[in-house]
Amino acid sequence: MIKIETSLANLKKDIAAFYKPELHHFMVMNAVDMGETMEIQWFFCDYAHPCETTCFYTIINPAEEIPSIRNIVVSAWVAEAELVDLMNIKVENTDKGFVLEPDFESGPLRKKK
């Protein structure tokens, strides 16, 4: 796995420069709760043989809003909606209520303080 550090400010620019639909395939987003901070990850894989998994990541304050990449990766809305529900973070233009019911307590995967 290749890990590439990015920032919320550069995220869209970095992913737009990397992602080519005919070469890469977006897999999923993930978040690792580290208490005061959170690591947000965007996983891509290529169609080549042998394939390579690439992970863009950034460390954020959980209160920060993450930019949406759905203008670059059309199907990213599913992964973004999941992260909003399960990790209780904010993603641009994404409401809660896709993987969990809208009135369900948000962020079941967040570490309890």
Binding site: C45, Y47, P50, V99, P108
Partner: protein, 362 residues
């Protein structure tokens, strides 16, 4: 412009096998927009795996994510844990894992095909396909002890060996199944009534499949050659046992049927090759290490790419486990695939997606 109607389908509906909710906006019986919700079966499995269970127990927990592709989950988890433990499993264990994955693919594909037939109004074909599928579950029971949720892959290897008489039984049952598969292929390929319901219905282009990042038979039916078995050989040697990529071009329900049927032939060949060339050796690599660092694994489940991410912190309990199921990747394509189709075709389209919400919501 005709009058528009909103038609909710699910979470419980005669055409749905899974608790999924679609809201179709229709005009003159044509679906012009679709909304989807998948929030009915979240079970908190990822949280449980990182809080209540030790890492060696987790393979038994993730086996419960899905009844159908249980072996894919336990194998993918075992592989990601083995990466964190930095161990290599015995060659015999790799072959046995591939054997069960392919037997599981046979039983999953036949189930999907039967439901497409049922949702297309062909009840007799549903019965016939389900009847022919039974042998695969009996074989899985003979090897693993269970018809579903096999708990066969464990961290370090596999939990059971393949007895010679069971290996003989697999070869002989597959020989019996071949003419049955030919018969199914003939019906799904040439039956006029079924083709009316399946051809040109729910179509996705290759370009759309690429842009929407589709996986599995859904993508391959549209001509996108994506199959983890073709892309990775470090963990399981797929090409060594005869894997061959299968693709179609039309991207419709008919093509998805053809993909699954043609993949059954490939799976049968792989199973025969594995049994004929099964290496001798141990079943498990023992270690007393604890998982450390982070790792990812991809594995081709019957519905497509399964992805596991794990992070260990040198304790018995994982820091984070992330599961991405194939249906999760296909949600965007599922919504798109309805557009422009008649509402009456929705049941067959849904069945051809082979959605698994137990996997998706976890």
């Amino acid at each position: 412009m005709g009058k528009q109607y909103e038609i909710p389908v699910g979470a419980q509906h005669i055409a749905l096998l899974e608790p999924l909710h679609f809201k179709f906006t229709t005009e003159n019986e044509k679906i012009i927009n679709t909304d989807a919700n998948v929030y009915y079966v979240h079970r908190g499995i990822e949280l449980a795996c990182c809080s209540k269970f030790k890492f060696r127990q987790v393979s038994f927990v993730v086996g419960r994510v899905c009844g159908l592709c249980s072996i894919s989950h336990t194998t993918a988890y075992s592989q990601v844990a083995e990466k964190l433990l930095k161990i290599e499993i015995p060659r015999r264990a790799k072959y046995l894992r591939m054997l069960i994955i392919e037997l599981d693919r046979i039983h999953s594909h036949l189930l999907c095909l039967s439901h497409v037939a049922e949702n297309s109004g062909f009840e007799a074909l549903f019965m016939k396909t389900m009847q022919y599928r039974e042998f695969s579950m009996e074989l899985l029971e003979a090897v693993c002890g269970n018809r579903i949720q096999y708990d066969f892959s464990i961290v370090g290897g596999v939990s059971r060996d393949l007895k010679p008489q069971v290996a003989d039984s697999i070869i002989s049952r597959l020989k019996t199944f071949m003419p049955q598969l030919d018969e199914l292929m003939d019906i799904y390929k040439h039956n006029w009534t079924l083709s009316l319901k399946n051809k040109g219905v729910g179509a996705i282009t290759k370009q759309q499949a690429m842009e929407l990042n589709l996986v599995g038979p859904f993508a391959r039916a549209a001509g996108l050659a994506v199959d983890v078995r073709n892309e990775t050989e470090d963990l399981l040697p797929w090409k060594e046992v005869g894997f061959e990529m299968v693709t179609e071009t039309a991207g419709d329900v008919y093509s998805r049927n053809m993909i699954r049927l043609r993949e059954l032939y490939v799976s049968i060949r792989i199973v025969n090759n594995i049994i004929n060339g099964l290496p001798e050796g141990d079943l498990i690599t023992e270690t007393k290490a604890f998982p450390e660092g982070e790792a990812t694994v991809r594995l081709e489940a019957p519905r497509g790419e399964l992805f596991y991410y794990a992070k260990g912190n040198k304790t018995q309990v994982l820091e984070r486990l992330k599961i991405k199921a194939p249906t999760f990747s296909n949600v965007a394509g599922m919504v798109k695939g309805f557009e422009g189709n008649e509402y009456g075709s929705a049941p067959a389209i849904i069945a051809s997606y082979d959605p698994c919400l137990s996997c998706t919501a976890r």
